[in-house]
């Protein structure tokens, strides 16, 4: 039928329908998941990706790996998008979400092959997803206050454990938590507390070892002073943040300068300079001794700053300037014009900091703004042996920052190391038996699919997956059967020793929100792919073909 229809339909492309497309989609999804599978968990391995220009990336981060792959298959693309979504929404757990989604699809495909209608499977999955999120929120999570600040550090540590900075996780987790706490913002209008981790400037500097990385309570700016003659160290700094160039004034398009008298030429040149000179004088008169601008500064103008003993920095990134302005209380000024049509610069537009200094870190020089007045800020300078390592460190730190933020904002944690998945598996299997419809099978498979996490964790750690997971499930079964043994529900895997232990006690923690979202996203993605029973692939359009099939 499908074959006949294809020829009659006269499409400019190929059409695949029914079971074959479903299997094809599932195969593509599983193939994607297999790529990232071995990077899951504290003992997961890294991938080296070399792109067509020859750039090398070494990473353990699922989202980064998938982003670099050029996935052709549309179903595979759905999974890649899924990882990126998890990365944006949560920032961590990108690998696990892809693995779970692929496992869900694989098992659903089996069910469909056994003549269960896909819509029944979809319904079962939806039901299972809803149940597991409910159970997770009610029974498997606990508030941060229970363990205090240590839980934050532990959550950060868990996220780092799989990464290159894993061995130094004690050191980095403290740093990450402190950095996040420093950028706390309370919205004055709503009283909501947010942690904009984007405000944490993470800089990379070549050289030394990872442990020499440091946290700066202030802002580190990857720029240098514009001129050697300027002071490199200013105490009690008054900072002006400018968003325009301090260059010789240029006339607008459509205005041409016509000089007939050579004597006037000099006057015009001088005037060009004088316009900007007057501006600088106004800024200096307001008391500024540190001038940061996103534009350029002319040599002539530099001289003025040097003479005034002020520090001027040109070509700062605008995003940096915005944050500095916020931290120091300065106003990012894009024009000196005031409401009277004149140009002025007022002292109120200046920001304040205890100290602005240019310091040498390895080969690069950085400008550090310490002790900003209006708000605390933090920057992290990462050190490492080579660029690829630094990049990976940056990604890892970013992941941990996200985790800490999620914990702080949502305030709930779950035990890691496959504990949640195993508990949900046991719970859902019990739940499935209470259903008397066909959905039972799908719910049971959903439960089975979740086990892929502890299984992969243990096989990545070169442990006997079957053995460990069986033990783990036994613990959770006990915990759910017997109220007295409820503490066993924190049982998770100890991958270094190949045992089952209480992961809440050992500080293997993850934000509850990350788990909930990853279950939801994975289910949604699996359903999206499952619902497809037809793939129409259109041929590439002929370069300006005559007929109107271009849609």
């Amino acid at each position: 039928m499908a074959g006949a229809a294809e020829s009659i339909l006269a499409l400019t492309g190929k059409r695949t329908t029914g079971q074959s497309i479903r299997s094809q989609n599932v195969t593509a999804a599983v193939a994607i998941a297999n790529i990232v599978k071995s990077s899951l968990g504290p003992v997961g391995l890294d991938k080296m990706l070399v792109d067509d220009v020859g750039d090398v990336i070494i990473t353990n981060d699922g989202a980064t790996i998938l982003k670099q792959l050029e996935v052709e298959h549309p179903a595979g693309k759905v999974l890649v998008e899924l990882a990126q979504l998890q990365d944006e929404e949560v920032g961590d757990g990108t690998t696990s979400v892809v693995i779970v989604a692929a496992e869900l699809l694989k098992l659903a495909d089996e069910l469909v092959k056994n003549k269960l209608h896909p819509t029944t499977v979809i319904n079962g999955y939806r039901l299972a997803c809803k149940e597991s999120v409910k159970y997770l929120n009610e029974n498997l999570s606990f508030p941060v206050e229970e363990l205090g600040r240590q839980s934050l550090v532990n959550a950060a540590k868990t996220s780092m454990s799989s990464k290159i900075i894993g061995p130094d996780s004690d050191f980095f987790s403290e740093m990450v938590v402190e950095a996040t706490e420093l950028v706390k913002v309370t919205d004055s209008a709503t009283g909501k507390i947010t942690y904009p981790i984007k405000a944490i400037n993470v800089l990379k500097a070549h050289g030394k070892s990872a442990r020499e990385s440091m946290l700066i309570k202030g802002y580190a700016l990857n720029c240098t002073v514009a001129c050697q003659g300027m002071p490199l160290h200013i105490k009690d700094a008054k900072i002006a943040c400018l968003d325009f160039s301090l260059q010789k004034a240029k006339m607008h398009l459509g205005i041409s300068v016509v000089v007939e008298d050579p004597a006037k030429l000099e006057a015009i040149r001088r005037e060009e300079f004088d316009i900007v000179k007057r501006r600088i004088e106004k800024i200096l008169a307001a008391g500024a001794n540190v001038i940061l601008t996103s534009g350029g500064i002319d040599d002539l103008c530099l001289k003025m700053f040097t003479e005034a003993g002020a520090m001027a920095v040109r070509r700062c990134k605008k995003a940096d300037l915005k944050r500095i302005a916020k931290a120091t209380g300065a106003t990012l000024t894009c024009s000196l014009a005031n409401l009277e049509g004149e140009e002025t610069f007022e002292a109120s537009q200046l920001g304040h900091a205890d100290e602005v200094a240019q310091e040498r870190i390895s080969d690069d020089e950085l400008i550090l703004i310490r002790g900003p007045k209006s708000r605390t800020a933090s920057s992290i300078i990462l050190r490492g042996a080579n660029d690829t390592m630094l990049d990976e460190m940056e990604r890892s730190v970013h992941d941990s920052l996200c985790v800490v933020r999620r914990v702080l904002e949502s305030g709930r944690l779950v035990a890691g190391g496959g504990a949640v998945e195993a508990a949900l598996n046991v719970y859902l299997e019990a739940f499935a038996t209470t259903l008397s419809s066909r959905e039972q099978l799908a719910v049971a498979e959903f439960a089975q699919a979740l086990l892929v996490i502890p299984k992969t964790l243990s096989s990545n750690a070169a442990r006997d997956a079957t053995d460990l997971v069986a033990k783990l499930r036994a613990f959770h079964h006990k915990a759910q059967q017997n109220n007295k043994l409820a503490h066993l529900k924190w049982a998770g895997l100890d991958l270094e020793n190949g045992e089952v232990r209480d992961n809440k006690e050992c500080g293997v923690l993850e934000p509850a929100m990350s788990k909930v979202k990853s279950i939801k996203f994975a289910t949604e993605a699996a359903i999206t792919i499952l619902r497809i029973d037809d793939l129409i692939k259109l041929d590439k359009e002929e370069p300006r073909g005559g007929d109107e099939c271009g849609m």
Binding site: A4, A5, I8, L9, A10, L11, T12, T17, N25, P74, A75, K77, L82, L85, E88, E89, P118, T119, T120, R126, A189, F244, M251, H252, G254, I255, S256, V257, K264, A267, I268, R270, E271, I275, L332, T333, C334, S335, A337, L339, G341, E343, K520, E524, A525, T528, R531, I532, D533, D534, I536, K537, L538, D539, K540, E541, D547, C549, G550, M551
Partner: protein, 534 residues
Amino acid sequence: MAPAAPAVPTAAVKSGRDSNFKDKEKSGSVRNSNIVAAKAVADAVRTSLGPRGMDKMIQSGNGDVTITNDGATILNQMSVIHPTAKMLVELSKAQDIEAGDGTTTVVVIAGALLDAAQKLLVKGIHPTAISESFQRAASQAEVILQNMATPIDLANDELLVKLATTSLNSKVVSQHSWLLAPMAVNAVKKVLDDSRPDNVDLKSIKIIKKMGDTVEESEMIDGALIDQKTMGRGGPTRVEKAKIALIQFQLSAPKTDMENQVIISDYAQMDRALKEERQYLLDLCKQIKKSGCNVVLIQKSILRDAVSELSLHFLAKMKIMVVKDIERDDIEFYSNILGCRPVASPDHMVPESLGSADLVEEISTGGDGKVIKVTGIQSSGPAVSILLRGSNKLVLEEADRSLHDALCVIRCLVKKRFLLPGGGAPEMEVACRLREKANERGGAEQYCWRAFADALELVPYTLAENAGLSPIHTVTELRTQHANGHANFGVNVRKGFVTDMKEENVVQPLLVSYNAIKQAAECVRSILKIDDIV
């Protein structure tokens, strides 16, 4: 479809004269190939019919992927070549425009009718006779549908929500129908214009899609949404007691025409030129400020920059929020919803042209996405905004299409305030009644009417098939029920057997089925009339 119909016969006549060497079988084979092609299209979308219908994934030539369940979208994306296949695509588009929903149904019915016609042709009935009988059968079907429909009161929210739910049930977002259905109902009711009570302008419902979060986070905003960022530069991102101006002029330095140039020959003039620009912009900004406005929406401009750095700076200083790049098409919508008059010249900036709202606020939608939300609008016109969220682009777009369908369903009801049961009940009822009436007819027409009736049964048949039920068993059961006078019985895909659809709250507007049958029959007639392709 309408434009295709008249063109065809003339072409057929002309070529008939030219190609006298062709044998007599030509017209038969052309008709046959047309029918086969059109049927193939109908078959392609058949599996996506109904609440348990599957989705299609369509990858276009440039690699873009669409996942959808919406018949019109599928056909639109499929880029079929065969001219009659294209007619079916057009048919589904027509249904989309007229009713907005039932785009798959209409194609499935057309396919079934063609199949029936093919069989009748084999029997030796003349195409014209078939075509005319089909037309009469279709008009009879309309009468039957009208009879079985129940009038509805638009004030009955509960019922309207159920309707929207039925339409959403076949889509990816069906598990969110509890949220989207009431949203669609409220949105349409809001934009209902008292002066034109039997139509709704869906353009005044603005749907803004933003990635991130899940569909559950979607919301209808009692106010306006603007899919833009504020311009920043230290300007406010939150304005209470806002006075909103919608301006169509630019806040940037006037450019001289290409040929003209301002010539400066003295250094003192340079300073003046700069000062003049400042002064000009300042005057503009002051004029805005003077009218009491504190939020400015600026229309997108092609000729020159809508705002310059300098004017933004001034406006920020005056604590005026600036939003630029409002599309020209949206001007009407915003002026409607915000209750403000578009201002085309700075001289017309008067307090009367401003719209006022309690709060204008920039909200972040995760990542870099930001929208501007205007709430508490006074003197707001009939317009609403809906913020749609979704975890990935595909889901989001499908949610958008589904919501559009739901909105259309409600609109159908506004146009024609009658309800039908869903789940294939109307099609079955029409089939049953037509079969009875067929006996009163004589000659070939009786055959045609019967064939027409049989063709309509394909809808419940497909519904059952897609839901994984035994189609033959279900359809025969359904037929029995209808023969016994239970007109509201339909295929209950959730329970897996035949039940009273009204009790199950599966309802649909009359206009959808009405149009579907009418348009499908017309389309089939025009295909039947073709006897030559040149």
